[in-house]
Amino acid sequence: MSINQPDLPAQSFRIDRTGLDELLAALKNRGYTLVGPTVRDHAMVYDELTGTQDLPVGKGDQQEAGTYQLVDRGDAALFGYNLGPHSWKKYLFPPRHKLWQAELTDDGLAFSEPDQATPPKYAFIGVRACELHAIQVQDKVFAGGDHRDAHYCRTRERAFIVAVNCSQAAATCFCPSMNTGPAVTSGFDIALTEVIAADAHYFVMQAGSQLGQAVLDQITPCLADSTEIQAAAQCVANARAQMERQLDTADIQNLLYRNAENPRWEKIAQRCLSCANCTMVCPTCFCSSVEDTTDLTGSHAERWRQWDSCFTLDFSYLHGGSVRTSTRAQYRQWMTHKLASWIDQFDTSGCVGCGRCITWCPVGIDITEEVRLMRENDMASSENSQRGGR
């Protein structure tokens, strides 16, 4: 959906799996490339879909800090998983992207647009509430302000979003702490809630945009009754009730700013691998490096942008050297930016509580736990300042 579209009054419909296949077919007929969850390499990833058969049918997952395992749910759920390692940023802000190419000619350098200048029209299937917020966070970065990113905007404006309400939560989820879920509220074209009961399996569906309504009208769903709407609401309530982790955001900017020299950072650095996995899986992390390449003859040059991370030495390389050489400084930069200075910069937190950085940290560092420990060892508290932190 386009970036700023008003919400529509919600009218709820009911479809079954066949109806969902019709919806996907309708989107395909409109020229959309369907992308969404599918199982590959022991995880749920986002990839191209041909229909509901490609979804993680009957699959769920168990997640904890540094561990992820797919499990069989024992039902036919299509969206019974929680988040995997991928996020939608891989489509909106691709991992590697050619910005331009140039040839050396007799008249000087001739620049040209790369082949992928016109990205596909994507339909994102199964976007969760925290992920919608993550997309909105990246909208501010890439589509807000004076310097709009052309590729991002082109992909984003043409994307169709089928959101899905969460019916369960992973142990690593903490979206309620960040006010980003589990209920989908805005920023979608169509929203679904999957309801699985003993004798029924259906989806309660709403349109969130004029375009969403038009697609929905094409598949002529029947109106959902109040029991079905209630069952859908209960699913989301269940997900909320399952949330175990919390991140206390009270006065978090000042907490992190005044603790810039807290010895806790050194403790984290002892465990942190500075491998950058957290930043790669984070749906809002937007840092990249831009690299120019030349061929052997020097007659052809290309400029590529690729994901980079505040955990690499090259990323903070200024004239004469890297300005963040210790893991302590790198982790502090990442967490302080994500949770505090992001608010100064973009008027929103950089964290949406998806928990990916917790699950996919190879040594299980937990951002919620690190915030809790920072609070416990707050240098502003008289007890801790006497002890010099812990």
Partner: protein
């Protein structure tokens, strides 16, 4: 702009030849390489060996004999730029496993007449002996990276070779982490990028062929591996392979011996 092409020499020390083969392996680009640079001394490719000095020397292999320790000094004298290629040249290679054992004992077991063998007790990287202008990592090196180093040299710029973890390459490829999903031992988080995360892409943990990355926290990774039920001797073995003598991996191996 000078019309003479820069002269390239390729040197071999204790190694398997795999890295210099990467240059011949640049099939599609080999003519372009030969067009841009004068391959003046490359014994594996041609008997036509032209005398030095050379503008760029690619050095493969480690120093394992007194003779080679002298020869590398001569190579340095003949070379304007000296670039080491591969784990042997940059870290001592797999043959640096001798550094942890008694070489005389090896010789007695392997050779019928060990007194013919003249060797040093250790295998050491080239940079321990002479000044090295750039180290290209890998066992073997990645031929695209080799081309990048040669191209960068030709155009007087810094090679675009990242020293961060293999994890970044793995995530750029969209691989779910094998450690997180399968509890597999993987050296990716402490290993220098460059291979394109080949092993995790084929459902194996990283073997650490490119040696330690820029800020390797082997202590934390090892502690986690032990939590994943990898026994201490197995952790030591993980670090004791192609880059066993690279300081960060050596220290990690020693800790779990």
């Amino acid at each position: 702009m000078t019309m003479t092409k820069p002269k390239l020499a390729v040197w071999k020390f204790a190694s398997c030849d795999g890295c210099q083969l990467s240059l011949l392996d640049c099939e599609d680009e080999l003519l372009a390489v030969a067009g841009a640079i004068d391959i003046a001394n490359f014994a594996e490719a041609s008997r036509d060996i032209q005398p030095g000095p050379y503008d760029l020397s690619l050095v493969e292999g480690s120093i394992t004999t007194a003779h080679d320790a002298e020869r590398i000094q001569e190579v340095r004298r003949l070379s304007k730029y000296l670039v080491t290629i591969g784990a042997c040249a940059t870290a001592g290679g797999i043959q640096a496993l001798r550094n942890f054992q008694d070489v005389k004992e090896f010789m007695a077991i392997v050779y019928a007449s060990p007194h013919y063998i003249s060797t040093l007790a250790t295998s050491t990287p080239i940079a321990d002996h002479v000044h090295v202008d750039f180290e290209l990592r890998g066992c073997p090196i990645n031929k695209q990276q080799l081309l990048e180093v040669i191209t960068a040299f030709l155009h007087h710029r810094r090679p675009a070779i990242s020293a961060h973890s293999v994890c970044i390459e793995c995530k750029l490829r969209g691989n779910p982490c094998v450690m997180v999903t399968q509890k597999m031992a993987c050296l990716g988080p402490v290993t220098h990028a460059g291979c394109g995360a080949i092993c995790p892409s084929y459902n194996r943990g990283c073997y650490g062929c490119y040696g330690p990355m820029e800020s390797p926290n082997t202590k934390s990774l090892s502690a986690w591996l032990e939590k994943l039920d990898v026994a201490a001797p197995d952790v030591a073995r993980l670090f004791r392979s192609y880059n066993a003598a690279a300081p960060a991996f050596k220290e990690a191996g020693d800790r779990h011996e």
